[in-house]
């Protein structure tokens, strides 16, 4: 375990990030000067009401979207000014993704889906690590199945295994339990937390579900494109409580600003 050492580093960082869509009257400001540091080996949840900019923040952090102003870095790599090819390579080698749906290619088996990022990069899987991941997701007997033959929870666990197998610097999960029932959701969330605890994986998860957020080490609350507050070692109740007061908190903050 290298937990202690890992916590010391920063896996991804956003510094004074602004994201503005459109111009003139149709201008929408999605992010207003957000600065966050996502520490290595930590499980961070980003929460906020619809339109708070949480997905935009995650897309910017993951190199899927560009920022209007400010600076985003993954590990030591600054994303500003990188070409599409470089960004693609960065996503391939340093980032893992878990989406809410359409996570798997229907033509590939579970195993092929898991190994896809490595295949694209023409890299061989680390056999021991692959076995560990497969064991952790608990899909050993389902590897040759096509996604259509798997349940929603199983599909999402395959997606998680795919995100982990290339040992990325950060795994970004966008509402990973949004489409799952509570039991399958709990399985997926538990698996994500285990990968942080046992393997020191860094995970950033966007969610609007307080229960899901309670699996994280740290919860960052967003409203109107700005960080409002954050909780460490949260419980579901505490998260719910904070969400209820988020408008008030946002008001206080903007009043203070």
């Amino acid at each position: 375990m290298t937990t202690t050492a890992a916590v010391a580093g920063v896996a991804a960082r956003a510094t004074d990030v602004w994201k503005v869509y459109g111009s003139g009257e149709a201008q929408v400001v999605a992010l207003r000067g957000i600065s966050v540091e996502l520490r290595r080996g930590q499980y961070t949840a980003i929460m906020g009401p619809s339109g708070s900019g949480k997905s935009t923040l995650m897309h910017c952090l993951a190199g899927l979207d560009t920022v209007t102003r400010g600076e985003v870095a993954i590990g030591d790599t600054r994303l500003g000014g990188l070409s599409d090819a470089k960004l693609t390579q960065l996503r391939r080698d340093q980032v893992g993704f878990v989406f809410q749906q359409f996570n798997l290619l229907p033509t590939l088996t579970a195993q092929e889906n898991i190994l896809l990022p490595l295949s694209i990069a023409k890299r061989k899987a680390d056999k021991a690590w692959y076995d560990t991941v497969i064991e952790t997701v608990g899909l050993g007997d389902r590897l040759t199945h096509k996604p259509a033959q798997l349940s929603g929870g199983q599909q999402q666990r395959v997606a998680c295994a795919r995100a982990l197998v290339s040992r990325p610097d950060v795994v970004f999960a966008d509402e990973p339990t949004g489409n799952l029932d509570s039991r399958s959701g709990a399985e997926v969330l538990g698996f994500l937390r285990r990968s942080v605890r046992q393997f020191g994986q860094t995970i950033v998860m966007v969610t609007h579900d307080p229960n899901a957020a309670s699996y994280a080490d740290r919860v960052i609350f967003l409203a109107d494109g700005a960080v409002v507050t954050e909780l460490a070692e949260p419980t579901a109740d505490a998260v719910l409580e904070t969400m209820k007061r988020i408008d008030v908190l946002a008001g206080t903050r903007s009043g203070a600003a």
Partner: protein
């Protein structure tokens, strides 16, 4: 409902254009064909009105051997000069001139080659003067070695008055030299009527060189006295001179000639309509596929419409209205393009061959408009019907379901496909067996519909074979991840892949079929000339004008004297009427030599010698006429009275020689007494090359024929199929063009459908170039699959035709491997080209939008 349809239509303009293009092409060829034939038809009507403007009534000789295939060709038919005097004496006749006028005189150009036209006649006439021909330079011919020619020919060949011209004629295929003393024009200062070339001799020279009969004429041109009605005069002349002659007014002649030419023009019609047929047939697959995919993609939307109360009929209507709009738009655009193409071809046609045809103005007949809309709409409806029915079967509950409906099983479609293929093969087999007879082209129609139905059947079977074949094909590309992904995508929806590939199959199958036939013909001929025939060289020519390809038989005496030549045989050919039927007749100088070289075997009687008044024939022909050795046969040659011959020998069916053979005693009564073929056999061990060169030298003055050794002969014979091959290649180009549109369309729709997957792939690190490669592999797999199918089906069709012709000497089946490989490679290139646009689209997929939730 209507508004919803139009909105969804407008939101998919690209799809509309792509699927419409195939219909546009088809409609273009249909309307282009009608415009072209209408325009040319009216132009020729004008032309012949000019040609016969100064003829009131014409008396023409009837050919002694007429009827049959050759139709109205008058050949050397002649009437004695006494008829001219007789006609002159008929009341109402102001004047009458006898004239020699046949399609049978060719000038040799300054480059030493025979000047040819593009199918226009090359007349040799006796100069009469007056009428519609006016000397515009020089004088009329007054001596037998003087000629005048039409200004068009002079311009084409670069002849000027005062030149010496070498000319070959019907009766003399070795050139004779004439002095060009003048040129003439037609009314309106035209140099030529429709590209025709005319050489006018003095009457005596024309009679000798063209008819081979002194003191006789082809026609008598009659001018009516003032106030005498042409029709009345015609009837009066006909009544007085009897039934041995045809008498027609100038107007009748113009009409008859125009209608003959129009029939000839229907050839263009067939070609263009053939193009249209292929374009529309292939296009049907394209439209069918487009609508199927659209319906599949709109499943939720359509189900929602059903859920909120739209009836099944409304669903069908919605799809069919969309088809109607596409069909109408494509018909309008296709009609416009067709008028353009028809006009362009008409201009090209009129300017070919010296620009002799003056166009009567581009016309758009009603048939072009009706044809355009009928074809455009019907094809689109037919193609949209199945998808429309499928749309109506979408249950409302599908609106709530997440995924598109699962793959339907292929059992039903495969059974139907098998049945349809069997029916097609049956039709084809029956057609090829020749048992349908020739009434109304029954055999041709059976074969065509057999091919068509087989295509449809195979297309229906394609989904079944798609998966194994495509996955095997795809293995070629499995070395990279994008390749693997592309391969799996192409095997994903067998119906879609199959329909797309089937479009390509049609073109490739046609060309492969023709190539199989051609290479089998070549192989069979090679086998034939090498195994069954001991002829080492043959002197012959291929007919390209009114003059049959003949040569001076004296050459054969010189050939026989060459060292190394062991045996020769000279053949003369003409049409004759035997026991009432028009048929071919050959005269041979040394039948024993022919027997030896062609391998003729006696079935009964004797075939080693033929004297005057005797005939021999092959067994099948004898059987057909129920004749046996010793029977009397009535023979009418091109000249002289009908005679009775005795059948003295019957030879067994032979793959080289067939039909009636006589001695050379009657050659003087043939249309021409020049030889048509010379067979040469060399002494064993004599090399062919030097003798061939010597024979060539001997033939220097016989420009209509050449000497060919065995391999030349095989090549020249199989080259006769080149026209068909070229036409099919143009068809193939067209079919491939449409198939490419189909592949583009299918892939573009698939890219659209898989936007999310592409987004996911790009998010987890697939580079743009890799995404493009994935699409390209899918396209290449589909197109190579189509080409493979085409090669297989084409080979089957070609082999069936060759097998059916087994009794006609096509004994060897041979496969054009090189061409097959060529087409597979071509298909791969086609796939790469077709993938360009969809691949760019795939590479441009915006990752964020692609993975965004609904």
């Amino acid at each position: 409902m209507l508004r919803a349809t139009f909105k969804s239509l407008l939101s998919r303009k690209l799809r509309l254009i792509l699927s419409g293009l195939a219909v546009i092409l088809g409609v273009m060829f249909v309307s282009g064909a009608f415009v072209l034939t209408d325009t040319l038809g009216r132009s020729f009507t004008n032309l012949f009105q000019t040609a016969f403007v100064s003829t009131d009534v014409q008396v023409a000789a009837k050919a002694k051997v007429a009827g049959g295939d050759a139709g109205s060709d008058q050949g050397i038919a002649s009437l004695p000069s006494s008829v001219v005097d007789q006609v002159k004496g008929i009341s109402g006749v102001a004047d009458a001139d006898g004239q020699v006028w046949i399609d049978g005189a060719q000038a040799i150009g300054k480059n030493g080659k025979v000047i040819s036209t593009f199918g226009s006649p090359q007349f040799g006439i006796s100069w009469v003067g007056g009428g519609n021909q006016t000397i515009n330079a020089g004088t009329a011919p007054s001596a037998d070695d003087e000629v005048v020619i039409n200004a068009g020919l002079a311009k084409t060949a670069g002849f000027a008055v005062g030149d010496n011209i070498r000319i070959i004629t019907m009766q003399q295929s070795t050139p004779a030299t004439f002095h060009l003393v003048g040129t003439f024009t037609y009314p309106g200062n035209r140099g030529s009527l429709g590209g025709e070339q005319t050489i006018a001799f003095t009457t005596a020279a024309a009679q000798r060189l063209l008819l081979g009969a002194p003191d006789s004429f082809s026609v008598v041109n009659v001018r009516a006295a003032p106030g005498v009605d042409d029709n009345a005069l015609r009837d009066r002349i006909a009544a007085q001179i009897g039934g041995d002659y045809t008498v027609k007014t100038g107007k009748q002649l113009a009409d008859d000639n125009a209608s003959d030419v129009k029939q000839g023009l229907s050839f263009f019609n067939y070609i263009l309509l053939g193009f249209a047929g292929v374009a529309l047939f292939v296009g049907t697959f394209l439209i069918l596929n487009t609508f199927s995919i659209i319906v599949a993609q709109r499943t939720r939307e359509l189900a929602l419409l059903r859920a909120v109360g739209a009836s099944r009929r409304q669903m069908i209507g919605s799809v069919l209205i969309e088809a109607t709009v596409i069909g109408l738009l494509a018909s309008v655009v296709g009609l416009g393009a067709g008028i353009g193409v028809g006009a362009l071809l008409a201009v090209l046609f009129s300017s070919a061959g010296g620009g002799g045809l003056q166009l009567a103005g581009i016309g758009v007949p009603p048939s072009a408009i009706i044809g355009a809309f009928a074809v455009g709409l019907i094809i689109t409806w037919v193609a949209a019907l199945m998808p429309a029915l499928r749309a109506s079967r979408i249950p409302p509950i599908a609106a709530m379901r997440d995924a598109a409906t699962a793959d339907r099983p292929l059992t039903q479609i495969s059974i139907v496909g098998g049945a349809v293929t069997a029916v097609g093969a049956g039709l084809l087999g029956f057609g090829l067996s020749g048992r349908a007879g020739s009434a109304h082209n029954a055999t041709l129609w059976l074969i065509l519909s057999g091919v068509l139905v087989s295509f449809i059947g195979v297309a229906l079977l394609t989904p079944l074979i798609c998966r194994p074949v495509v996955s095997a094909l795809g293995r070629l590309f499995s070395w990279s991840v994008p390749g693997q992904l592309g391969r799996r995508n192409s095997a994903r929806n067998p119906r879609r892949t199959a329909t797309t590939a089937a479009a390509l199959m049609v073109g490739v199958a046609l060309i492969t079929g023709v190539y199989v036939i051609r290479s089998s013909v070549t192989a069979s001929l090679t086998q034939l000339v090498n195994k069954e025939v001991s002829v080492d060289m043959i002197i012959y020519g291929q007919q390209s004008s009114g003059i049959p390809p003949t040569f001076d038989p004296k050459v054969m005496d010189q050939v026989k004297a060459l060292s190394g030549v062991s045996e020769t045989s000279t053949l003369y050919a003409d049409a004759a009427r035997i026991n009432g039927d028009r048929t071919g007749l050959a005269a041979v100088d040394d039948v024993a030599a022919l027997d030896d070289m062609a391998g003729l075997k006696a079935a009964s009687g004797t075939i080693t010698s033929i004297s005057d008044g005797q005939l021999i024939v092959d067994q099948p022909e004898a059987d057909a006429h129920h004749l046996k050795v010793g029977d009397q046969v009535k023979v009418q040659l091109a000249r002289g009275p009908e005679r009775t011959f005795t059948l003295t020998g019957i030879y067994a069916k032979n793959n080289v020689t067939s039909g009636w053979i006589s001695s050379t005693a009657n050659v003087a009564d043939f249309s021409t007494s020049q030889a048509s073929q010379g067979l040469i056999k060399l002494a064993p061990g004599t090399p062919v090359g030097p003798v061939k060169a010597e024979v060539n030298t001997l033939l220097a003055d016989n420009p209509l024929v050449n000497v060919a050794d065995r391999s030349d002969y095989v090549k020249q014979q199989s080259d006769q199929l080149n026209f068909v091959v070229n036409m099919i290649q143009i068809l193939l180009f067209l079919a491939i063009l449409i198939a490419v549109l189909g592949i583009i369309n299918t892939l573009a729709l698939s890219v659209l459908e898989r936007t999310r997957e592409l987004g996911l792939l790009r998010a987890i690190g697939l580079r743009r170039a890799q995404a493009m490669r994935m699409i390209t592999v899918e396209a290449v797999v589909i197109s190579v699959f189509g080409a493979l199918l085409g090669v297989a089906v084409g080979t089957g069709l070609g082999a069936a035709v060759v097998r059916a012709l087994k009794d006609d000497g096509f004994t060897t089946l041979s496969f054009p491997w090189a061409q097959m490989v060529e087409y597979l490679v071509l298909a791969a290139i086609v796939g790469v080209v077709a993938a360009v646009l969809p691949a760019i689209r795939a590479a441009r997929v915006n990752v964020l939008e692609a993975i965004a939730y609904e």
